[in-house]
């Protein structure tokens, strides 16, 4: 305890977040604090954390090499703060959540945030387990918050069971790794596994696969994706938007850091495992999405298939791949958050079936145009930024010579177009059925969606600013 205090200056955002957790959980009991606007306070916390992380520099290994604070973790943390800030805005424009619970919700979100920040800096299996649980457990509660929907509790229970199952497997895998190598540090694990990987022992593959199951669960890749559609559908839409972006990014960051310590003779086996995982995830996500009639389930399966695409970038196990993933992430945030904000607006009255969007182009033309841009970008169509993101992923895969993976990804891109266009067709081509007065006035969601679509189009044509940002993400080796 005595030795950790000097280190706290390296992780100011973490400290602030810790205080935020305590603040939001206890504030309701203090009469003076209870009257503060919770959303504004939390938003301010996010802004301050963002500023703290952007003004940090250098890299340091803290807490007995448990976490590694460097530019990689700082940039990923900034992404988490942005996503949570957008979630706060979404919650303010949405009535699925009971506004009286805001303090608790923000406390839970702060806990998730702290967990994600630990995930992005983890360099030890123990803190990985803690961080993943720190993200998962509040998420279970957040999914259950949609009190008006009975399915919400069922989805949350599915999420709990699945998450615990994945966490259990992960811990078992971690114990295997400890048994094989005698260390839990990322840097030590791969060197320790060198003999086992050279001989191709089954225990090596078992240990690695089981250990990453928790991370696979967080990014909702196959075979730990089953919770995803139910949880996304039943959760309040701002929470769905949050879950589909931030924890996924955190899981990817953790996976990339975990695998970056591998030694070269392990590369071909790991590439094989990850590429199979990526191919199956993309395919399952896309094929399942084809039949969906609920917009949130469709977006859930779409996020599963995007996890598959992003796994492609991790599969190549080199710096170019990590950069391609990091390049894709802001684009993914824009597209996904824009899409969910449009869903929040269009699904007022709890009508989440896609058919209820029929003819929306006539009532809210600019919102529908913005939503269409987000959907085309998710499908990876030029001239939108989603295409550029996929282009870099294809590029790193072809450079590594993984041709089957490239072909499978290309076929999946085409398949995914069908269900995205299905939504667009309903909004633009079908004639309307819903009476007009159900759509309430509200300028913020429309403005937000249009504000998301401008950078999507801009970056689709000129993406150097994003490239420059992605350049800054370099692990030290």
């Amino acid at each position: 305890m005595v030795n950790t205090l000097p280190y706290l200056s390296f992780i100011p955002a973490h400290v602030l977040m810790g205080f935020a957790i305590i603040f939001f959980f206890l504030a309701k009991a203090v009469p003076f604090l209870k009257r503060l606007p919770a959303s504004a306070v939390f938003f301010l916390v996010m802004v301050v954390c963002f500023w703290l992380e952007s003004s940090g520099s250098g890299s340091k290994s803290l807490f007995f090499d448990m976490i590694q604070v460097d530019s990689y973790s700082r940039l990923y943390n900034q992404i988490f703060f942005i996503v949570i800030a957008v979630t706060i805005l979404m919650m303010a424009n949405n009535n699925e959540l009971n506004k009286e619970n805001n303090w608790e919700v923000f406390g839970l979100l702060a806990t998730v945030c702290l967990g994600m920040m630990l995930m992005s800096s983890a360099s030890n299996l123990l803190i990985t387990a803690v961080a993943i649980e720190l993200v998962s457990i509040p998420s279970y509660v957040l999914v259950a918050l949609n009190r008006k929907l009975p399915a919400s509790k069922e989805a949350s229970l599915k999420y709990v069971l699945f998450g615990s199952f994945a966490a259990g497997i992960m811990l078992y895998g971690m114990s295997l790794i400890f048994g094989l190598t005698g260390t839990l540090k990322f840097s030590g694990i791969w060197k320790g596994l060198a003999d086992y990987s050279a001989s191709g022992a089954a225990i090596y593959f078992l240990a690695i696969l089981m250990t990453i199951s928790g991370m696979i669960f967080k990014i909702s890749a196959v075979p730990f994706h089953f919770w995803c559609p139910d949880a996304y559908q039943a959760a309040p839409t701002p929470i769905t938007a949050f879950l589909s972006t931030a924890p996924k990014v955190a899981g990817l960051a953790l996976l990339m850091r975990f695998f970056s310590y591998h030694i070269s003779l392990q590369k071909s086996d790991l590439t094989l495992i990850l590429s199979i995982l990526a191919m199956i995830t993309m395919t399952v996500g896309n094929l399942a999405a084809l039949k969906q009639t609920d917009i949130k389930r469709l977006l859930a399966y779409s996020s599963i298939s995007h996890a598959g695409f992003l796994l492609m970038g991790i599969t190549v196990l080199n710096a170019a791949g990590r950069q391609a993933v990091f390049f894709y992430i802001p684009i993914y945030l824009l597209m996904n958050l824009g899409a969910f904000m449009a869903v929040i607006y269009l699904s007022q009255g709890n009508r989440f079936d896609i058919a209820s969007y029929a003819g929306m182009i006539k009532k809210k033309p600019w919102l529908v145009v913005g939503f269409t841009v987000c959907l085309f970008s998710l499908a990876g169509l030029p001239p939108f930024a989603g295409f550029i993101g996929k282009f870099y992923l294809f590029k790193v895969v072809i450079e590594e010579g993984l041709y089957l993976l490239a072909v499978v990804a290309a076929v999946n891109s085409v398949i995914s177009l069908f269900y995205y266009v299905g939504v667009i067709k309903v909004m633009i081509i079908d004639t309307e059925e819903r009476p007009i007065k159900e759509i309430q006035a509200g300028r913020f969601p429309v403005t937000f969606v249009i504000a998301c679509s401008f950078p999507i189009v801009f970056f689709g044509v000129y993406w150097i600013p994003l490239l420059n940002w992605a350049e800054k993400v370099k692990l030290l080796f």
Binding site: P383, F391, F394, E399, L404, V414, I429
Partner: protein, 499 residues
């Protein structure tokens, strides 16, 4: 003016915001003005074009080269040579014609013309782009406007036709994307996306250093991936099934654009990228390509003969005529390739006329069944005359441009593939068969009393067709006026491909 080529490409896109400045009913004037202004801006491209420069591997004209994404080696590199100049002219003419043909659009006019102008920019961009990524971007950009144009303003089965077109073309395109990345990564010499540079390096003896992919040599795999992407556009049997649906269900003006320009993008891709980059694989593939061309010609003609819907018949006739283009390119002799590019231009103008004329009768009768008409010549003489000229042009009657291009192709192909050429002659005979038979059933014979009050062609409709008729006759009598533009480039391309 400087940067003339960029202006030509982007003037339609610049016109899009203006659509919202005027009331919706006036949007069509903005679109028409944009296409006409574009045409006039482009005139110096043709008057100042140097017809003696070979192009293809160097010496591109009106070049503009700007760095775009330096870390990737992607540049904003556009320019024209003989291969593209005819296509630019075609796109500009079809743009004006299609804007006139869209005069009757009455729903969401601004959205329609916004998509239309975006499509126009994308098509022009494809023909001038000389950087592979820029080419791919322009190629893909025209997909979603086409989806909306067919899906919103089209016929009864428009949703099916639109998504079929979208998915089919996208499937070919992603294969093309993987091929482009592979070409860049395994390029001879320093990595670049510069098309012209790559063709020059290959011509000077460079070769792709790629590995074996799925058990096949690298060049063959990449060639086939590119080929399929372009073949879907042409369309080549068996990738042609999207065409009848898309053409029939699209509104008249979009059918004109689709048949007039979009189909040519596939064969342009062959001439610009696919064949010059892999001349040895082209050698290996040539026989098969000729076989596909003959199938296109004969099978397309037979399908046209079997149709009862006038527009679908013309759609299949497009398949057949594009088969001739393939025959000329596959032969790769100087007459063959010159004939092929001339046929690309002529088919654009002739098929545009055909679709415009079908649109005339569809607007009035609201159906296109050949058997549902009869004796229209006595009620609408102007329409009958114009349609007879268009049908004769499609058959390839001497005196009109179609004859020159088909003759050149058959001459060029006969040198190398005698049997294929003779079988293709069947296609011409079938072409005459279905065209004349359809004409006889629609215009001659006893008058169908339902249509005894049919109104003849309006001024706007005539204004869109007459320029095309003039061009068809002009090129039928003085074809060298157009061939002169691309002769030197294509002769050089032919020597690259046959060597």
């Amino acid at each position: 003016m400087s940067h003339i080529l960029s202006w030509v490409v982007f003037v339609p896109l610049i016109g899009v915001p203006f659509l919202w400045l005027l009331p919706a009913k006036k949007a069509k004037w903005i679109a028409l003005m944009a296409t006409i202004v574009d045409f006039f801006i482009a005139i110096p491209l043709f008057t100042q074009f140097d017809k003696t420069v070979k192009g293809v591997t160097s010496g591109m004209q009106f070049v503009e080269k700007l760095p775009w994404i330096p870390s990737l080696g992607v540049e904003y590199y556009i320019g024209i040579d003989g291969i593209s100049i005819a296509m630019i002219l075609l796109t500009l003419i079809i743009g004006v014609v299609a804007a006139l043909a869209s005069w009757g659009i009455s729903q969401y006019e601004r959205g329609y013309f916004a998509m239309f102008l975006l499509l126009q920019t994308a098509m022009l961009g494809v023909f001038v782009a000389l950087d592979l990524i820029l080419f791919y971007l322009f190629w893909e950009i025209m997909l979603f406007p086409m989806y909306f144009l067919i899906g919103i303003w089209g016929g009864p089965r428009r949703i099916y036709a639109a998504i079929k077109f979208f998915l089919y073309t996208l499937a070919g395109s992603v294969g093309m994307l993987l091929a482009i990345i592979a070409i860049w990564y395994f390029a001879p010499g320093e990595r670049t996306f510069n098309m012209i540079e790559l063709v020059q390096r290959i011509h000077e003896g460079g070769s792709f250093s790629g590995p074996v992919i799925f058990g096949f040599p690298f060049t063959k795999v990449v060639f086939i991936a590119l080929f399929i992407g372009f073949a879907i556009k042409v369309p080549i049997f068996p990738f042609h099934t999207w065409l009848p649906d898309a053409h029939v269900e699209a509104p008249t003006a979009i059918s004109v654009v689709l048949a007039g320009v979009l189909l040519k993008m596939g064969t342009y891709g062959f001439l610009r990228i696919n064949f010059p980059l892999f001349p040895d694989v082209f050698e290996w593939f040539r026989d098969f390509l000729i076989a596909l061309a003959v199938i296109n010609i004969v099978y397309g003609a037979l399908c046209a003969l079997a149709q009862s819907d006038l527009k679908k018949m013309i759609a299949y006739s497009s398949v057949s005529h594009m088969g001739f283009v393939l025959l000329g390119i596959g032969a790769a002799t100087t007459q063959g390739i010159n004939g092929a590019v001339l046929q690309m231009f002529n088919h654009g103008t002739i098929t545009a006329m055909l679709f415009l004329l079908v649109g005339v009768v569809y607007d009035r009768a609201h159906h296109r069944q050949i058997a549902g008409f009869g004796g229209l010549a006595s009620v609408t003489p102007v329409y009958a005359t114009v349609t007879s000229i268009a049908f004769m042009a499609a058959i390839g009657l001497p005196g009109m441009s179609g004859f020159i291009s088909e003759f050149l192709i058959l001459t060029g192909a006969f040198k190398v593939y005698q049997v294929a050429t003779i079988v293709s002659g069947l296609g011409i005979i079938f072409g005459a068969a279905y065209m004349l038979w359809a004409y006889q059933r629609v215009f001659f014979g006893p008058l169908n009393v339902k249509y005894k009050n049919l109104t003849d062609m309006k001024f706007v409709e005539l204004a869109s067709v007459v320029p095309l008729i003039i061009i068809v006759f002009y090129l039928g009598i003085l074809p060298d006026r157009l061939i002169g533009f691309f002769e030197i480039s294509l002769n050089y391309l032919s020597s690259i491909l046959i060597s």
